[in-house]
Symmetry: C2
Subunit: 435 residues, 2 copies
């Protein structure tokens, strides 16, 4: 039975919903339980695989086009050899009696946990025990959502990285999507645009249990200032909300914006922080990240959230690959860290080139300075139209802002990840076709 057959079924079944059906071959079709209502609530497919699908369709239609991918935000630069060598050596060691290791700690190797604490949180006093090594930010967002459960209420920046909202819907924290607004019921959308310096209007934001906050922001590229983050922490403290601070792009900050929420006094009692090796070390395929859960973070009963997070990690996860963790440790060595900073600088230079090209067109360009993402305004236009136009004319894949929520309408996100020659070519094409 092919997939097409099943789709045919699906349509047939809608017409005859209550009977045991027979396939075309006459076999009885066995239908099972009802679909989880939360899954039914999901209003669309997950954004990034969709972008890749559109990409593939474009290639099929235009087989000769030299496509430039500035969409999904995938890293392109080789991993510095000191890091890949450390991983390779770990692999070889697994074939020796002395070097073989089985299960590691679910929370990650303590050596790596301490190295992360030392490298990124030394000044703010986070300890190794508060670091949970993960297989990536997206995975830890979902694990946190399982921990919080279906009754937790959620606020997100709008526009925002789609995993926050989608995982909320999946665990049952939201209602259905409202067609008119494009927003899910029961989720608070905090508009963040140029009109409010990309920072929510907190005095008019309702209280929620969780506030997802990404800085430097994906997709807008805005890094919240110290003063903005202080307002956020004060707001969370007042409301007894938990901030989930996503710092996946912290390595791209060039000004004095805080690289971690824990630079803000009082944050440890109201925030967890999700970090990632993906964009900082090119580990998008290697898979490695972490979450900081401070011991000061307590439920209303006084029970530490860290203990529950640990339970989730032990039950729903079994630790990141030991090979990736060996790589992570090499990333944080003096030599590894220096090499990675060069790679980050390479992408930053890419971003500057793209910003220059776009600004020469007198477009309103945001982000880029503290993030590998550029957020370009096309006032009055549909972001999908602009996306399609750039794809059709310039053969450049971007992301329509609408994919990040209704607040992204009228914008497109352009990623600075790419080889220099592609970025230069993209800059030229953008100048030509967007003129």
């Amino acid at each position: 039975m092919t997939y097409i057959h099943i789709l045919v079924y699906y349509h047939n079944l809608e017409k005859q919903p209550n009977s045991r059906l027979r396939s075309e071959k006459g076999e009885e079709v066995c239908k099972l339980v009802s679909r989880n209502a939360n899954m039914e609530n999901l209003g669309n497919e997950y954004l990034f695989p969709e972008i890749l699908k559109w990409e593939a369709e474009h290639i099929q239609k235009n087989p000769k086009a030299q496509l430039i991918r500035l969409g999904v935000g995938d890293t392109t630069h080789p991993i510095p050899e000191i890091i890949s060598s450390a991983m390779a050596e770990h692999c070889y060691a697994l074939s020796t009696t002395q070097g073989y290791k089985g299960y590691g700690a679910e929370q990650g190797n303590m050596e790596l946990r301490i190295a992360i604490a030392e490298k990124f949180y030394r000044d703010v006093g986070i300890k190794g025990e508060e670091i949970f090594v993960s297989d990536g930010a997206q995975c830890d967002i979902s694990r946190f959502q399982i921990l919080m459960g279906p009754n937790a209420t959620v606020a997100v920046q709008d526009p925002t990285f789609p995993a926050y909202i989608d995982s909320s819907v999946i665990v049952g924290q939201s209602g259905k999507i409202v067609k008119e607004t494009g927003k899910y019921e029961n989720i608070v959308y905090m508009n963040c645009g140029p009109e409010n310096k990309f920072f929510p209007d907190l005095p008019n934001t309702p209280r929620t249990d969780i506030i997802f906050f990404c800085s430097p922001n994906n997709p807008t590229g805005h890094a919240a200032s110290r003063q903005q983050l202080k307002q956020l922490v004060d707001f969370a403290r007042e409301n007894k909300s938990i901030i989930v601070f996503d710092s996946a792009y912290a390595a791209y900050i060039t000004d004095d914006s805080p690289k971690t929420i824990f630079e803000i006094p009082g944050a440890k009692e109201v925030a967890i922080e999700i970090g990632s090796f993906s964009k900082f070390a090119g580990f998008t395929g290697v898979r490695l990240g972490w979450t900081v859960v401070p011991e000061e973070l307590l439920y209303s009963s006084g029970f530490p959230l860290r203990k529950d997070f640990n339970r989730i990690v032990c039950t729903c996860f079994n630790g990141a690959s030991s090979i990736s963790q060996a790589g992570g440790l090499a990333c944080l060595s003096e030599q590894g860290f220096r090499a990675l900073n060069n790679v980050v600088d390479y992408y930053k230079k890419n971003t500057i080139l793209l910003v220059d090209a776009l600004e020469s067109l007198e477009l309103q360009v945001y982000g880029g300075k503290n993030a590998p993402y550029i957020w370009v305004h096309f006032p009055g236009s549909s972001s999908c139209d602009v996306f399609n136009q750039i794809l059709e004319r310039a053969h450049i894949v971007t992301v329509p802002g609408r994919g990040f929520g209704p607040g992204g309408e009228g914008y497109i996100r352009i990623s600075g990840f790419g080889r220099r020659e592609c970025i230069l070519e993209a800059s030229m094409r953008l100048k030509k076709y967007l003129k």
Copy 2:
């Protein structure tokens, strides 16, 4: 603020539950939202980290003891070099312009998906598109639970691998644990012991949406016969239940018990299957597994479950490490597979040695034949007492059967994973101390 301080707080807070408190230093303590009731329902810590804790405590008390670890079931044999080399080469390639790859498909590389389908499911017609590559069985169990949601009802074998029950509790499918029975409310425990050939009394089993079924079973080591699995599939078809068939130990089957549920006619419409490289390839630390979701599996509406599983994988996961996947592909090469079979044979021989030792004591011994686990009966004894006795006297770590559910009381599980010299020494000690 130290962890101890927080614990002190926790105790204080219970006495003064409704006020903003001040710490000993006089700072105001910020307590947040209530704890998720599902997490509150969890009656105990996750089993395996607890075993490791007891292990560590024993070492601390007996620093000179030569501890033998036959508890958690961790692999000990080096990974065949053909596999580690493939992973190492993949690592090196990540440092080259040609070899660097970023994000892979969330579902896994198609080459590996096809190889898994070919190697394990060729005769039963499972296709690469139906294979979802994962970072391990435990992780996919939780992702499946998120997909099914809090309203799904669940049945488990008793005794059983604890992740099924614990993940059910966490997503809200169960009630509280009942102290008298040691069972969670709303979960159906299907007793599986020698009295029923380790197979549930299905005619007296209530209908549930999900049936977790592990074969070869962890912990009992029993592999369900073809006839038993046929009964199970018929039962699921009749009840419109989904079987989650955990085949993590299939490589250890020595008789003609089915290695996959899909050998049973009609299973594709009622079962998903979870497989793992952990125990078959020594990948416990490398992290790699897969889940088969047949396209024939449909919700009552006719909507394919595979589509939802795909959505979960794309949203809550970002694919297994590309390095682990390169290793997985090498495992399935002719040479790799042959080398792994030798490792499996090594562990099987271990298991036989342990069974012989235990049977020489006239103990009632189950499992071992089709699984790396031995399930030893100590009628009338508390499994925790037996566990402690073996630990104290013989310095051997096992697992108390009670840890796998009330049906495990009176048993202990002994793992056959270990170096031969340890297994021989363990056999000797068991003969000496259990006499």
